[in-house]
Symmetry: C2
Subunit: 513 residues, 2 copies
């Protein structure tokens, strides 16, 4: 046995060196998993179900429509076949929806500042990362709940940068010490961008703030042309006040992003039972209709503009009205929305990993585990909220990132599935071992080879026996997580933006970090 382990460790070293020579090791490709593992083996909706949801969404858009469209939006949509009712509902006829959908942006990458971390959110390829607008930080050791800060946001961006299974970083927490919306938007964007070279995302409270941030993005990219060629920010916009009302300022953000060539995550976040139907199918249909309305408007402004399908029906606990991000119903809703996005051929942006728990405990583990797995197996291209979030998105935990990195690795491995071919079916190996061989598979070449290719090994997850664990001090997973987090944050600051560019930005913009 010991010889086998030594050989396996040696082989591991060789594989790591080979990978380092080829580059890309930092992108999380450990052999067993890689960004863009393909899902799609789980189909909560049948093909017929998907068609029914689509037809219902079309009916909602054509028969109910959306209120509170801006003048420009009304003119754009009615100028192409839409209709405004006497009571102010903007109706989208079926042909308008279908014709516009045909020219929607597809097959585009999500760029990173470092091209090694670009993502391809097509087909059923999955990627996981962060998102949220939490207002609290919970310290799992002291159980103190405090306001989140800009420094927290930057630290989280750095953690996401260092952890291989977190593939993108959308803003996680609101810097509560900054009250002015302009300062908040600019500093939030800066903290994400400075903290990680991976694809980033954030939102803007106004088009003017986005316009100002764009100048900062151009500076980092080197020029407007360079940024437009590889826009490394995705603007997330909740452009819907559900049910079926537009958010005026968000429509202006969409218009600005369309002008500036910035990818959009078009989000409609209803709460089933409150702002969306309690019936799960209805919530999927309503949020689908709402996202389609934004896609139509965006594509009338700029045909083919890159946009993510962010139909996000959240769940209310109907006993209290509070959101329940960790529920099984939540997992189902997101997996179903991923199928709708796939039906339209548009990258699916979903939310999973939103536990209701306040601490990284058993409840948090299973709620994150099953909700992330459902979206992943369904092939959701971009799974947000998958690291750090607690209390149904109200809170964030720094020490959770390293734990979530392990969980995401396992979810990706599960999603990769089982390859079935003559080699993996192992008839020859079984004959080797059982007819003339040693009667076990430990030393077989296949075992060594598959150990590298097929098995994911967690970083913090503990696999000792109960006796070993006890004899080694019965260590707590959270203690290890805190220690690892401190180590990662004590490492040198990221250097993907040069000191010169950082100084230039700090001279030109009101950066508070």
């Amino acid at each position: 046995m010991n010889e086998v382990i030594t050989e396996i460790r040696r082989a591991g070293g060789r594989a790591a060196r080979k990978k380092a020579r080829q580059g890309g090791a930092g992108a999380g490709d450990t052999g067993a998993i890689w960004p863009g593992v393909e899902g799609g083996t789980y189909r909560p909706l049948s093909k017929d179900d998907v068609e029914k949801v689509h037809r219902t969404a079309l009916d909602i858009l054509a028969q109910v429509g959306l209120r509170d469209a801006t003048k420009r939006c009304v003119e754009t949509v009615t100028g192409t076949g839409g209709q405004l009712t006497d009571d102010g509902r903007l109706l989208f006829p079926q042909t308008l929806v279908e014709d516009t959908l045909a020219q929607t942006g597809r097959g585009f990458p999500l760029y990173a500042q470092d091209p090694n971390y670009d993502l391809d959110p097509s087909s059923t390829r999955i990627h996981l990362g962060t998102s949220g607008a939490a207002v609290h930080i919970i310290d799992s050791e002291t159980r103190q709940v405090r306001n989140s800060t800009l420094q927290d946001l930057y630290n989280m961006a750095r953690l996401a940068d260092a952890l291989p299974n977190i593939h993108m970083f959308q803003r996680t927490v609101v810097p509560r010490e900054i009250e002015d919306p302009r300062l908040m938007d600019l500093n939030t964007c800066f903290a994400c961008m400075a903290g990680t070279k991976k694809p980033i995302g954030t939102s803007f409270t106004s088009a003017a703030n986005l316009d100002e941030a764009v100048k900062m993005l151009h500076t980092v990219a080197g020029s407007e042309t360079a940024f437009r060629a590889r826009p490394f920010l995705c603007v997330s916009t909740c452009f819907i006040v559900p049910p079926l009302k537009f958010a005026e300022e968000a429509l202006a953000v969409i218009e600005t992003a369309a002008d500036q060539g910035i990818p959009l995550k078009l989000v409609s976040a209803g709460q089933a039972g409150a702002t969306s139907p309690a019936a799960l199918a209805g919530a999927v249909a309503l949020q689908t209709a709402e996202v389609l309305s934004g896609l139509i408007y965006l594509n009338l402004l700029n045909p083919g503009h890159p946009a993510l399908f962010g139909a996000l029906p959240f769940v209310s606990d109907l006993r209290t009205g509070a959101m329940s991000g960790g529920s099984a119903e939540q997992g189902l809703l997101m997996a179903a929305c991923a199928q709708m996005a796939q039906y339209y051929g548009i990258p699916a942006a979903v939310s999973a990993g939103m536990t209701d728990s306040k601490l990284p405990d058993f409840q948090a583990g299973y709620e994150k585990g099953y909700t992330e797995l459902m979206s992943a197996l369904a092939g959701a291209n971009l799974i947000y909220e998958a690291a750090g979030m607690y209390g149904s998105l109200l809170a964030c935990s720094l020490e959770s990132f390293v734990l979530d990195n392990d969980l995401i690795g396992a979810v990706m491995r599960a999603t990769r599935g089982i390859e079935v071919n003559d080699d993996t079916l192992s008839l020859a190996t079984i004959k080797d071992v059982c007819i003339d061989g040693p009667g076990h598979f430990l030393g077989h070449d296949q075992t060594l080879e598959r150990m590298q290719k097929d098995y994911f090994y967690p970083d913090l997850g503990d696999r000792t026996t109960p006796q070993e664990w006890h004899d080694q001090g019965a260590e707590d997973l959270l203690d290890r997580a805190r220690e690892r987090t401190r180590e990662l944050l004590a490492a040198p600051l990221p250097t993907h933006i040069s000191q010169e560019v950082l100084a230039q930005i700090k001279a030109e913009f009101p950066i508070m970090l």
Copy 2:
């Protein structure tokens, strides 16, 4: 909002009273979930993959065969077309396998002492429960690791009895204080049977011990005829020493169960990379072949005898050789084996929820969450090891049962999926609300109705906001779990076996409880 909640609570009370009148409330049917929820929306293996695994299993049986068959087994199998090689391998030709499979037991229930808890493990209907042979109890509060006892086993049976989402109770821990195998087998069987009225399972170290236990089972059932009509015990037998060797004494247990009309769980538990191929597809093929060999023998002894398909490829962490029950690969292997069982139309018995962690912590939560979900979504009929197990089956935790009960509820709700029809698609409701209505769904009839039917509410899982949680004392989930466990164990002892019968058994058998 408050009116809505009051109305929902009232409706909840009505539903509970109605259910109580109809009976069956104890069977875990809360409206949103029920034993036998149908899975099958997740297919890790394609149809072609399943065929390939089946053909490989046939090749293994025909070309490699199994060693160490007993004389009776060799005579039975060679008498029907099998062949013994010069080096002692018993080969099963394809026609023998296919002809015998055609008459295998299908569509049988798993009986409980109380018929309200009978299970129907057919199609892709799922049920979850316990199993294992842990030797340690870990106290999550003191972190002490101690030997498990008969009293622990009985207490766990009582917890399973009380918790609605645990549908069956197979022996969880070994009573370490009992060294004599006969005393251990009889007392283990008694503790399960006395602790719960739900379907039970255990294993026997010898056919003689099973024969003696059968007398006890007849006493409880009232007569041999009554027991044979509704055998409420399923005998789990690891009849394979992988790879491809029979366990002699276990073949005798199979023979006795076949005589006595007792359902069998035919288990082949390999460890991928050690006693089974490291390639996942090969592990599934090998364990499938091994279980088929047992099914063939059993059906030659007693055609149509009820047996579960227990192909259980476990995972080794190839760095250490230790088992890793919580890995993603483990989740995949079991889901794939469930598909193989479905291919043969035989109830699938799988293992999920086997965390590598030693405590009910974040790691335990996610490992249990994703492994149970994968088997459930794949439609595994009987998901064992789903409550209580830690340290890759080496340890068990009493306080985990109440936590696992919540997790299983969520897994069942996820598996139930999304019903899509005109009512649930909610076009009419959306029109009601958005065109002439209040602009939200809170007070709508549909919301009230769906709150009962569609949403699962955890018992211990916490959904308060971070601020509420903090203000209420930042309570620990494990503290609540311990308290609930103490409450359940402080309740009156079960009465499904009368005092008279218990006294009779204690007079006739060496019961130590």
